[in-house]
């Protein structure tokens, strides 16, 4: 009697416990972490705002939407810092990380090249070039000192129309530059199936070098401030984040995510080779070109908004693939990329007491270290 009871409970226990494999526990933990992240990440920064304060702000905001209680409407200083500075910044970091990781993951799959990342196709150097052109144009008119500070520090309070113009034109220039390099790569890659991938990669590398050279040339003749400013910009920052700045990147990343999800089967089929994908009804050259275009759009928008944040697009897809082998985790890649970027930005805000570090430095430093660690563990375990 006791034995059967034991058996039943054992069976029940195994039934409850076995369906969750290690991978599933990992996913569960990740989702929980993602839910906590906005609150936790918002409690880091210059102003001393605790975890509970942030939670309180979020709850009162939540109440604000549902019960138009007068008491809930009053906004304190804490609330303004959380809602107008930190939350948009966290969201922008998330969107940027998710977008870059998605782009990297898709590009690695469609080119079947593990080293492909959004910056390999000349997008980042094209964007830098565009930004430098804009900066030097304004330096020429003697307005740079003023404008450069404004463009980088994220303080937009009353400094004339030209400064405002630069703040607007820097991302604009970056976007034009990025698009230009993509167009060159696309034109050279072509719609032929034969050696399309090689043409894409090689023309990307060549375009990248070409724009880097042009950028260096411009910077060589530019003022030291301009050089410093471009350097700062090219390392990336979310300091400019605001709700209005968030709209376009979020929209682009979200729509791209939906498109990638819709074409998931075709993209996965490409992983098995061009010929196999063809026999599964995929128009291979067209799909690859469209995906390059889409990833370029994501990257160009993000580079224009946050500057050049390297290594995320290359590393996150590989990390996710190593952590979740045998899955095709588009959603997970975006999630991990977003979370990674949010916490990198927290580090950027907190590592130095009175100064922010460019996020690009931290992504590269931490990212490569973390990646090597995972790679080593995988190698040992297999």
């Amino acid at each position: 009697m006791i034995d059967t009871l034991k058996l039943v409970t054992m069976n029940l226990l195994t039934q409850i416990l076995t369906p969750l494999t290690r991978q599933q526990w990992l996913i569960l933990g990740l989702v929980g972490f993602a839910l906590l992240t906005p609150i936790a990440a918002a409690s880091f920064g210059a102003a001393n705002i605790g975890f509970l304060d942030v939670l309180h702000v979020f709850i009162s905001k939540f109440n604000y939407f549902f019960a138009s209680d007068e008491a809930a409407r009053t906004s304190s200083m804490t609330e303004r810092i959380v809602m107008e500075l930190r939350l948009p910044r966290i969201l922008l970091a998330f969107v940027a990380g998710a977008g870059l990781s998605l782009a990297g993951s898709v590009l690695q799959t469609v080119t079947r090249n593990p080293l492909a990342d959004p910056y390999l196709f000349g997008i980042s150097s094209g964007a830098s070039f565009g930004a430098v052109v804009m900066l030097t144009l304004f330096t020429g008119s003697g307005l740079f000192d003023n404008a450069g500070v404004i463009a980088n520090s994220g303080i937009f309070s009353g400094s004339g129309t030209f400064a405002g113009l630069l703040w607007f034109s820097l991302p604009f220039g970056a976007f034009i530059g990025a698009s230009l390099s993509v167009l060159i790569v696309l034109a050279l890659a072509g719609l032929g199936l034969k050696s399309q991938v090689e043409r894409m990669l090689l023309s990307g590398v060549a375009t990248s070098f070409m724009f880097s050279a042009l950028t260096s040339l411009l910077l060589y003749f530019a003022s030291p401030q301009a050089t410093a400013s471009v350097l700062f910009w090219s390392l990336g920052s979310f300091a400019k984040a605001s709700w209005s700045l968030l709209v376009l990147p979020s929209l682009v990343v979200l729509v791209s995510f939906m498109i990638i999800l819709g074409w998931k089967r075709q993209i996965m089929a490409l992983q098995a080779g061009d010929e196999t994908a063809h026999t599964l009804g995929v128009n291979v050259p067209k799909l690859r070109l469209n995906m390059l275009l889409l990833c370029s759009l994501i990257t160009a928008i993000l580079v224009a908004t946050c500057g050049g944040i390297g290594f995320v697009g290359l590393m996150i897809p590989h990390t996710v693939r190593l952590l979740f082998p045998g899955r095709q985790p588009i959603f997970l890649t975006a999630l991990v990329g977003g979370l990674f970027m949010v916490w990198i930005d927290v580090l950027a805000r907190c590592l130095l007491g009175n100064q922010e570090l460019p996020v690009g430095i931290i992504t590269a430093a931490i990212g490569s270290f973390f990646f090597l660690l995972i790679l080593r563990r995988r190698k040992l375990s297999s």
């Binding site: 593990p114 010929e275 063809h278």
Partner: protein, 296 residues
Amino acid sequence: MHTTSSLAPIAPATAYANTALKVSQLSWAIEGKTILSEISFALPQGEMLGLIGPNGAGKSSLLRCLYRFIRPAKGHISLFSQDISELSPKAFACKVAVVQQDTPQYFDMTTEQLVAMGLTPHKGMFDTNSSGDGEKIAKALEKVGLSHKVHQQYDRLSGGEKQRALIARAIVQQPQLLILDEPTNHLDIRYQIQILELVRSLGISVIASIHDLNLASALCDHLLLLDKGQVSAMGTPSQVLTEERIAEVFGVCAQVTPHPQHGNPLINYFYGYQKPQGVAADEVHSHTHQKQGGHP
């Protein structure tokens, strides 16, 4: 009746009531070099056609034309009396499945995911796999005997298992025509036989390029012998596989006798490229003739 002339009894394309595939005057050249020239044949529905020929005869190129990976310079290919160039990539993939020789190195999928790829042409943009699809995949895996390897990484399967997984994917694709490019390459003899028997048992029209002439003879309804891009012979195994033709096309000396089990040609090769003394060649010949006499 059988003749020993080099002209092959090419099956006329209109001879079959239900033609799965009809190829007429197909030619393809690359950089001025003719790879395929004036190839015509027809495949009756539900039959298995073996494509044989020496290396470089154009077997893979012909198959690639059939699954539209390369566009022939000249000629027509029709699938169930519809020109294949009229079909969309998706519609074509719903009708024709292909099993190729190898998969790329950088490939991170479980066996189940690989087999599920066969659903690709049947699915719309945001369609998820239904429980019916899951059953289809499980059944296909069972059919190829890989049910126990469902969650294993495809990379870690053995050569024979990989090939069977690819066939399971083709089964899930539910094609009317299955094209296999050397499905028995790199496999030991047990799997060579097993895979061709498996493909045969599906009951759909099949074209497979096969290197082993004995295997082709035993398991195909018809054979198409390619030589230097041209059809050298087409017909039943006993019509195509004669000592003269094997000598002419493959450049080896062989003895052809009826197989004790199924009566189709059994080929024994002589080493040293010529018939040794003491083998009664005439006797062998008469066997072949008798057998073919029974199959007009």
